[in-house]
Amino acid sequence: MASVTFKNVYKKFGEFVAVADFNVEIRDKEFLVLLGPSGCGKTTTMRMIAGLEEATSGDIYIGTDRVNGLLPKYRDVAMVFQSYALYPHLTVEDNIGYPLKIRKIPLAERKRRIAEVARRVELDSMLSRLPKELSGGQRQRVALARAIVRTPRVFLMDEPLSNLDAKLRTQMRAELKHLQHELQVTTIYVTHDQIEAMTLAHRVAVMNKGMIEQLGTPREIYNNPRTLFVAGFIGSPPMNLIPGEVRDGVFSSGGLQVAGVGRANISPAVLGVRPEDAHAVEVDEADVNLVAPIFAVELTGENTLVSVRLGGQLMTLRADKNFAGQIDQQIGVKIATDRVFLFDGETQDRADF
C-alpha cells in the first residue's frame, strides 16, 4: 500500500508528446480515475507506473521510492489489461497463480491462495479450464483474480470493463468498487467512460492532450468544470455548449438570451447548460430564454430528451417522461440561470468565477 507521485513527468515518443508536465499525488488507498478520450496519454501514464514505459524526464515515486528505470518486477504493482492478457496456454488456476509461482511461493500456500481468490470472484468451478473456454466476463474475473492474488502496493486497471456487455459492465463496476474498498489498495483506473469515472473514483483526473485539465472529486468536476473540455466530457447526455457572446451581462446566441451571467463583456463566449437545467415550458410563459421548434423527442424511460434547434446546432433538454410535444412544435425553453457555466471562447477556461 502506497501513494504514487508524479513530478514534472514528460513522455515523448519521438517528436510526439504523449504526457506533458504531469504532476499529481495519488494518495494511499485512493481510487483515482484517469479519464480522457483515446490518445490523451492516460494509458501511457499508467504504463509508466507499471514500468512498461520509461518517463522521458521527471520523477515517479511509489511510496517514497523513486521508481524511474526500475524493472516492473521490482515495483510491486498489479495490472489488469484492457485485453485481460490471460496466458492462453495456462489454465485458470495457473493464470491466477502465475505471480505466486514467479515469487517461488510454496505449492501448498499457492493452492490455498488461488482457491481463496477464485472463490471471491466466483471462478472456483473453472480452475482447470483454459482462457479460450471462458466467457468474456469470466476472463475479466480471471484477470482480476490474478491481480488480487497477492497484495501489491498499487492496482493498475486499464479500461478493464470496456470489453464487457453493458449489463455485465454495470455489475462488475459495483464489484470493483466494493473490492477496492475491501482491499484498501491504492488503485489507478484508466477509462474513457465518464460514467465509470463518476461512479468509481474518489478523485478523477480529466486528461486531454497529455495534460491534466482538472483534478478533483467526481462532484467537483461535475458541478464545477474548470474548462470547456471538462464541461463537454462529463455528463450524459453531454452539456449543451452554445457559442455566442456576452454584452452587459447578457449572453446571446441566435434567439437565445440569458441574463445575469456575471461578467460584463466577453466575445466570443461559450455558455454551458446541462440538459437537466433547461426546461421545456409554454411558448408564452414569462421570462423564457428561447422559443424554438422541437427537432426530436426521445423517451429514455425515466425522462424525455427534447432537442430544439438553436442556430446551426441542437440544444438538448431533459423533460418529464410524460412530455407530450411533437416534432416541429414551437416550445419555450427556460434555463436555470444560477446553474449555467460561462466559458471564454478563446482561452476555453471558465469565465464566471
Binding site: 514500468g51 518486477k73 489489461f81 492478457a85 496466458y87 492462453p88 502465475y98 515469487r103 482462457p131 479460450k132
Partner: protein, 285 residues
Amino acid sequence: METRPRYRTIGGILPMLAYLAMALALFITVFPVYWLAQNSIKLDIDIFAVPPVWFNFSPTLKHYEAAFIGQPFLIYAFNSLIIAMATTIVSLIFGTMAGYALARFQYPGRWRYQISFWMLSTRMMPPIVTIIPLFIFFNFFNLLNTKFAVVVAYTAFNLPFVTWMMKSYFQDLPPELEEAAMVDGDTRWGAFLRIALPLARPGIAATAIFSLILSWNEFLLALILTQTERSMTLPVGISGRVTQYTTHWGEISAAGFLASVPIIVFALLVQKHLVRGLSLGAVKG
C-alpha cells in the same frame, strides 16, 4: 426473368471440378514418390523396360542390400541425420532469440529494419559464390571433411531464415502477454521462456521442419566440404552412384526413397503444432 439460382445448391459441377483439380495435384506430387519406391524394388531389367512395367514385376531388396551393405549409405544417412539435427537445433536456439529481439526490443532510428535487412542480405548472393572462401576458411582451420564444418556452414545459411520466420511469429503474439508477465513479477527473459516461447510453438515447429528439410537436402556445400565416408551426407553419397561407366538407378532409388522417410516422419510428428490458433482466446472475448 431471373435466371440465376436464388438458393444454395448442393452438388453440381463446381465441387466436382474442385475434386478433379485436387486429384490432379495429388497425382503430380505423389507419382514421383511412387515411381522412386517401385524402382527401388525392381530388377534393373524391369526399371528399363519399355513400355514400363507398372505392377507385374517380382519385387527384390537387392538394391537396398547393395546400397546399405555394399555401399556405406547407412553411414551417410547417419551423417545427414546428425548434421540436419545439429543445424536445426543451433539455428533454432539463436534464431528464436534473435527473432524475439527483433520483434520486441526498441532500436534507435531505423536500426530494427537495418539489422533485419542485413541478416537477410547474406542470403542474396548465390551460395556458390561463397564456396571458395568457405573452402579456404575451413581448410585453414583443418575442418574440411568434418560434420562440424557442415553444421557451421548450414547454420550460417539457415539462421537468417529462422530469424525472420521467428520474428514474424513473435510479432503476431500480443505484447501485453509478456508485459503482464513482467508486471506479475517476471523478468523479460522469464516472460520469453514461460510465455512467448510456448505460444510460438507452432512457429517453432514450422521453422524446424523448414530448417531440417533445407539441411537434409542440401547438396552443393556438402559436396565441396565433404569427401570422406565419415563426413559425407546422403545427397552427396547418392550422387556418387552416378559413375563414369554406369548409373546405379536401383541403388539411387533405394537410398533416395529411404532418405525421404525421416522428413515425412518428422513432419507427421510436428504437424499438430503447425496448426495455428493456440494464441486465440488470449486477448478479447
